[in-house]
Every structure is written in structure tokens, then in C-alpha cells.
Amino acid sequence: MSNVNAVSFTILVVLFAIVTVCGFAAARWRRAEDMMHLNEWGLGGRGFGTFISWFLLGGDLYTAYTFIAVPALVYAVGSAGFFALSYTIMVFPIVFVFAPRLWSIARVHNYVTPADFVRGRYGSSGLGLAVAVTGILATMPYIALQLVGIESVLIVMGVGGSSSNTFVNDLPLIIAFIILAAYTYLAGLRAPAMIAFIKDTLVYVTVIVAIFYIPAKLGGWGHIFSVADAHLKTTNPKTGKPFGSLVPTPAGYWAYATLALGSALALFMYPHAITGVFAAKRRDVIRRNMAILPAYSLVLGLIALFGYMALATPGVSQIVKSHASNTQLSVPAMFQQMFPSWFAGIGYSAIVIGALVPAAIMSIAAANLFTRNIYKEYFRPNADPAEQTRVARWTSLVVKLGALIFVLSFSKTFSINLQLLGGVWILQTFPAIVAGLYTRWFHRWALIIGWAVAMVYGTVEAYRTPGNGQLHFGSSTAPILGHIIYIAIAAFVLNLVITIVLTLIFRAVKLPAGVDETQPTQYSADPEGAPAATVPTPAGTGAP
């Protein structure tokens, strides 16, 4: 740790300390009478207006992995990595359609998780369990990847990583995570909601400065694009093909479009995204946010361009190569090479704090799922709100600890592989959740079987895909029916086909369809006033 830049390091520590204070103080923010209720701990009182929701959702959806992995992909393969921009462009029109209905039905029935809705809609705790398990499975590696993002900043800073003692190496990461776990335990969703303000300010400042300052120092965008173009045209010794291209080639069109569409459909199936939606105060807050959240997409597009800026920055490629060609170091390395050390410290903080907000929300969302759809459903049907909140708090600790152990004991590649699988898995809950918002036509058992087959197919297909120097899980795209497409989309189509065919059969033989506890008008309801916490839960007591 001898060559740590004292200025950068101090700034990171100070900003981290400020965030910690805010995290603990958040427990008193917008305080409710009864904090021992999942509507409070797990959903921040269900009372966030447009402004806070914007920060919360933005802080929630744009993770450290986005800030690190998207530019890393652009750095490595060029234009193909820009699917992320296309994805964040189309996600908001898609979500605009169904999120208000999901919010309304959740508010009327006091649902805390998407699995609560599926269970109530189809009268099937099994389908609810499938949605809950998928959500938890997909979220765990996502949390782990937040840690990987923090790690890449620490490596570039020279903090840890050089000692022969692994515990010392990982100590900064462990401390950061223990503090995060503590204030999440205490304040619940209020903590990340409050920290999101600091996170987003840091991110916006860093991105705006970088996008003007670095190109000016490097000799302009013309120079950056021509350096990137020249590099991408050279042959990658590993594959014998060019590294990539400045504009997608026809062979890559399908991959680009299906990755963008699949990721956009999947994003709001993730429990942490739905948690952000459920925390909104009014139905209009959600639609209004779909019009203002694209501000973050613009930031993401600019961050993606960091990949090219890093290619044109002298010294970055040496740093990346000296760490086993870990392209995820490219952006922190560019900050180090181009910024004065105090501003590099701001940039590092943006990435590190940018990881804490989503990690907190993800652990809360996973904890809500476990508590509502596994613990209460199968172990303690009579658990009162206070007991549920206690269980969720402890679960959030366990989830974070699990992610920490995971990152420290397995290779980074393994986390990234699982994250890739997470995207494939979570999309398979789309039919049950989104179709369920519009129609009860689909049969619950058809949905379960379609989900199960697609989960297995997607996992096997991802396992069979070599690439990137690995035999398995080499890529999220695979050649299917003559085109290179995103595995999640292939599995999703299979899921839909099976579900439709089986629904026709099950309805023909009149298999029991289950009891629907929702009513059509409730999907456009806009109840106002006190969040359901003060009302004796009407829906939770529905079925034993």
C-alpha cells in the first residue's frame, strides 16, 4: 500500500464517512409512527414523491457495474457494448406501460414484492415461490458485482491487492460492507434513498467534467474516435479476428437488438427495481419518472464513451495489461491518468458510493422476498408485521454477508458468469408478472412449467457457450436458429410458447385455475393518503 495517492484516498474516505453519517441519520428521516412494518423498513413508507423517486430509481438502476462494465465492454469490443445505451433508451417506454398497473394493484392489496402479486393474482403460492426464488437468485450475484466494482477502484488506487495477506487485501472492502450492512439494517430503504442524492451528484459531476475535460486534453473527439477505430481494427491474438468495430456489422445486428430488448424487458423484473416502484407515493409519480429518468440514460451513454476515451489515454492499456487484462480497470485507470489526484478521488468515490446504493436496495428487496414469500408463506403464516420486519432486517444482513463471502472466495469471473445468468433467469418471470397485470387467461401451472423449462434451457445454453477465453459461460449471446441472439430472449420465447400451448390444454381439460383475489378496477386505482402501514392489513390475511 506504499504507492497510494494520499489526496485521492483522503477524499474517498471523507466522502464515505459523510455517506455513512447520512445512512444512519436516514433512520429518522420521514419517520413513521410504527417503523416495525415492511411498508416502512422495506418500502420507505411508500411515500416517495416524484423528486425522491427519481433519485432513488436512478441510484438503484444505474449500478457500479454499469459504470465499470459498460465502458469496459466498449473498451474491449467497441460498438457492440453500446447496446447498453439502446437498452436504457427503450426501457422507459416499456415500463411506462405496465409499471403503473403494478403499482396500483400493489397499493390496493398491500403487496410488498412482485411475488406477492403473482400469488394473489393466480391463487398459487407455488408460482409466487418461483418468482421469489428467481428474484433472490438473480439478485445475489448482482450484489456481488457491486463489490467487484468497488474492488476495481481499490486496485487502481493501490489500496489492498499488493499484500500477500489476503485478509489485509480485502479489509477495505470488508469494512465498507459492514458499515453498509449496519445502516441498511437500521434505516431500511430510507438509507439508500437518502444516499442516492450524494451518489447521483457525484456521478453527474464526474461525468460532466470527464466528458469535456478529458477529450480536450487528449486532442478532441476526432482523435479519440480515430484511435479507437485503429485499435478495434487490429487483430485480437486470442481469436484471430479484429477486436471489434466502431459501428456494428450486419452479423452483430441481432445480438445488439436482442441484448437491448432483453435487458430492457428484464430490468423491471428485478426485485430491487420493483421495490423502487412500490415506494412511490402516487400512480402519477411513476409515469412522470419515466419521462425524467432518461436523464440517467444520457449519463450512461456518455459513460459508455469513456471506453473510447480510455483507449486513447496513454498509460491505461499498460495498467489493464499488468492486471491480467482486466478491462474493468480501464475507467478508474483513466481517472488516475487524466485527472488531478483530488478530482480522481471524486471520481473513485462516485463509483464506490454508486455501488453502495444499489447493493443496499438489492439486499432489502431480496430480504422482502424471503420474508413475505418463503418465511411467512411456508414457515410462519401468522407472522405479524413486526416479526416480518425483524426477519427481513436479519435477512438483509445474511444476503450481504453471502455476497461478500462469495466475492472473496470465488473468482471474479464466476460472479460475472452468475450475473449473466441472472439476466437470463429474471426475464423468465416476465410472463407471470406482466401478463398477469392484464389478463387471467394464462393458467398458473402453464406459467410454472414454462418458467421451469426456460430456466433450465437458458442455464444450459449459457453453460454451453464458449468465448472470452473460457469454455463455458463465455458470452450472453449464442447462435440460435441461424442468428447470434441473447440467450435470455431465446429462453423467453420458449417460455411464452410453452405457456400458451399448455394454457390451451389445461383450460380444455378444466384444471382448477385458482382464486384471483384482485378485481379489474384495482389495476388503475390511485389510492391516496396514508400508506397502508396504518391500516390493518386487508390482503395479507387473505388465505392461510
Partner: protein, 89 residues
């Protein structure tokens, strides 16, 4: 809360919203229309500035849809001021 579930938007409104949102999605879903270098904008190849332009375009489309579907702001004083300052009537 006399009327908390007003489905009363005309079919024409829903058609308009559907079309606007589909435009927003297909603008970048159809890759061949923008996978090209020219025309350049400054130093930016078409592929890049086209997508960056779509971000505000989609924001505007979503905002129009929001206005089209917005229910009349509940006339409760003090809770949240209606954004457009539109006093009913």
C-alpha cells in the same frame, strides 16, 4: 375518493400513446437504420449521435404520453401542487 379508478380515456388517446411508445422502442431496436458512420455530426459518427439524440426524444415522447393519460389532478389543496398549474376548469 369518489372516483379513484377513472378508466375514462378515449380509445384515440390509447392509440396515440401506443404509437408514441412504439416509436420510442423501435427507434433504437431496428439496428440497421443507424449502424453507419455517416453523416457525421462534428467528430461523432452517426451511430453515436443518433442514439444520444434518442434519449431526449424518448423522454419527450414519454412526457407527452404522461400528459395524455394524466388524470385530473385531485383537487386537494396543499398535498402536491398540480405540475402544470392547471386549475380545474
Amino acid at each position: 375518493m369518489a372516483q379513484s379508478t377513472p378508466p375514462g380515456k378515449s380509445p384515440a388517446t390509447w392509440v396515440a400513446v401506443t404509437i408514441l411508445l412504439l416509436i420510442g422502442i423501435f427507434g433504437t431496436l431496428w439496428v440497421p437504420i443507424y449502424a453507419r458512420t455517416t453523416p457525421m455530426w462534428g467528430d461523432f459518427p452517426f451511430f453515436y449521435w443518433y442514439q444520444l439524440i434518442w434519449v431526449p426524444v424518448v423522454a419527450v415522447l414519454s412526457y407527452i404520453c404522461y400528459l395524455l393519460l394524466r388524470t385530473k389532478p385531485a383537487s386537494r389543496p396543499g398535498v402536491s401542487p398540480p405540475p402544470s398549474g392547471g386549475d380545474a376548469k
